[in-house]
């Protein structure tokens, strides 16, 4: 592998360049669009030379969108707030429920544990609508439709399996002898769990929490079915944007940029956790 020719290196470089263009150009282009008015967006041929404007973002933040059909009130910031709240709360709940269970599955061999782990895992792959459609009828009866509590509960379907399976793998990698030694020294089970097991499994917990956040943020179908406009996250809210007629294209682009920026920033910041998390611990990076 060490004696690659110059020719091969050039070909490789060009190919990687093309790959990067394909995967990064859409993001680049939408960011550019978000700083343009309709006049420059509609130019033919398109050009990357334009006078950048922040008007799209300021319209979104104030919530007053000027359209050809008059002023339109769209609470996009509310959607953004919903996304933040739903994702953060779901991950926190999921960590609180998932870490002890993951520990139990890793440390104690019991039948029920395997059954729960597998049920959750196999439902990770079941069609979400299968659960959501009956649930939407139940939620109506229970009064949980369009409530944060109902949504956070359902979001556990996304977060909990991830956390259980990733963190469990990390607990399994910790030698029980370390914990045993700490117990012998006179510490309770709870202290051992808190002071030894959880800190040692921290990289796994971070990876799982990060990934659960991203998946919760990116989820679309749950809120589409169980939430109305005032509780909807950005993924569903942005769709309403596109269908509302007469909205400036730059504003749609700005809304998309604001919606994808948090997960992209997180991914860049914590990329080393992602590979491990994405494969549910199947491949150790």
């Amino acid at each position: 592998m060490d004696h690659t020719s110059t020719f091969e290196r050039i070909v490789r470089g060009i190919l990687i360049g093309l790959v990067l263009v394909f995967f990064l150009f859409p993001i680049f282009w939408i960011v550019l669009m978000s700083f343009q008015t309709n006049e420059t967006i509609l130019r033919i041929p398109p050009s990357i030379v334009f006078e950048p404007t922040l008007s799209n973002y300021s319209a979104l933040i104030t919530g007053r969108l000027e359209t050809t059909a008059g002023n339109l009130d769209i609470a996009f910031m509310k959607n953004l707030g919903n996304s933040v709240f739903l994702s953060v709360a779901s991950v926190l709940v999921s960590l609180a429920l998932g870490i002890p269970a993951a520990y139990a599955f890793a440390r104690f061999r019991f039948r029920l544990g395997e059954d729960i782990a597998f049920t959750l895992l196999s439902f990770r792959f079941a069609p979400p609508l299968l659960v959501l459609l009956p649930l939407s009828l139940y939620f109506k009866q229970l009064g949980l439709t369009n409530t944060y509590i109902g949504l956070i509960w359902v979001y556990q379907l996304i977060c909990l399996p991830l956390i259980l399976w990733i963190v469990r793998g990390y607990f399994e990698d910790i030698s029980p002898d370390i914990e045993h030694a700490y117990r012998i020294a006179g510490n309770s089970w709870w202290q051992t769990f808190r002071k030894i097991a959880v800190p040692l499994a921290m990289p796994g917990i971070a990876a799982a929490g990060l990934l659960a956040f991203i998946f919760a943020w990116n989820n679309f179908i749950f809120a589409l079915i169980l939430a109305s406009a005032d509780k909807q996250p950005v993924t569903v809210g942005a769709l309403a944007f596109v269908t509302a007629s007469g909205i400036q294209y730059g504003q749609i682009a700005a809304a998309i940029v604001l919606s994808i920026a948090p997960t992209l920033a997180l991914a860049l910041y914590a990329q080393r956790y992602l590979v491990e998390g994405l494969s549910l611990g199947a491949v150790k990076g």
């Binding site: 033919i44 556990q156 793998g169 179908i221 942005a238 611990g281």
Partner: protein, 308 residues
């Protein structure tokens, strides 16, 4: 997996009862969530055996397997099966080839390659529903940059997702954009974890590189390829976000994949029984696939953890 602690004598600080109950107490919340999922699931099975339309509650009644039997002679159902299978096969096929190619390009852990592989994660971190909107803007007939590019190539009337003949191509493009990095990242991790010895031996013997690739790299990478493809196949056959955001299953019934069809069946035609039956069929398909996948994945996981 060998790390279970139950054979080690435990300090006798806690009562016998507490010790036996502990694992159950710890997993109780997860168990409750499990039950919370299983109830709607069994409800869905029950609904699928009913004549149940939200707008005609008086007609509600048990009809055994009529919903399923009706599918057999229903062209819309077979269209859904066909579209879903074509969509899953096409997207996963393209993503696998592309992902493998990119993983091979970035195999050497140089600084440049590592930065490139991190940047390639960005589409994967984009919500698929939003990615579909991004591509919708780029393929807009009035100002879309991609519409402009294809017009330079001579296709002045290329309609992307709004034309039945190119709609599948367009959503496939979005799916490939979002999910190829997933396969790439798994295969890259796989490639970099392969043992060095066989490659060094082959290099010493002057074995041709195509031979090395087909006889050493590919067979050793196969478990990773199978895991990644099964995972994607499971997701792709249930695709909803991209198709719904892009075209809502249209134009016509061109992109009526399972979940979009059952969503419309439920909310537009309020036919709960039919919608549930459709989802049960989709579930059966994914259940078979996921069992194969979980076995494969556990094998790989065991190996990764054992070797670490």
């Amino acid at each position: 997996m060998t790390a279970a602690a139950d054979h080690i004598p435990r300090p006798k600080t806690s009562s016998r009862f507490m010790r036996r109950a502990l694992p159950y107490l710890l997993s109780l919340p997860a168990l409750l969530v499990c039950i919370g999922i299983l109830i709607p699931f069994f409800t869905a099975v029950y609904y699928s055996l009913l004549r149940f339309r939200l707008n005609l509650p008086a007609l509600k009644g048990f009809i055994w397997f009529d919903n399923y039997i009706n599918f057999l002679s229903d062209a819309a159902f077979w269209n859904t099966v066909k579209v879903s299978l074509v969509y899953a096969g096409l997207t996963v096929g393209v993503e696998l080839l592309l992902g493998l190619g990119i993983a091979l390009l970035l195999q050497k852990p140089t600084r440049f390659n590592n930065i490139a592989s991190i940047l390639l994660l960005l589409p994967l971190m984009t919500a698929p529903a939003l990615a579909a909107l991004m591509w919708k803007l780029m393929t807009n007939p009035n100002f879309g940059i991609l519409s402009y590019f294809v017009s330079l190539l001579g296709f002045t009337d290329f309609k992307w997702a709004s034309d039945p003949s190119t709609a599948l191509l367009t959503v496939t493009l979005v799916d490939v954009w979002v999910y190829t990095p997933f396969i790439m990242i798994l295969l890259l991790a796989g490639l970099r974890s392969l043992p060095k010895a066989p490659f060094e031996a082959a290099a010493l013997d002057g074995v041709p590189r195509s031979f090395v690739f087909f006889r050493i790299t590919l067979p050793m990478l196969l478990p990773y390829i199978i895991t990644a493809s099964l995972f994607r196949l499971l997701d792709s056959i249930q695709q909803f976000d991209i198709v719904y955001s892009m075209t809502q299953g249209g134009p016509g019934d061109t992109l009526m994949v399972f979940q979009v069809q059952s969503y419309l069946e439920f909310f537009q035609y309020t036919n709960v029984g039919r919608s549930a039956a459709l989802l049960i069929i989709l579930w059966a398909i994914t259940y078979l696939l996921s069992n194969i996948f979980i076995k494969q994945w556990l094998k790989l996981r065991e190996r990764a953890h054992g070797g670490a």
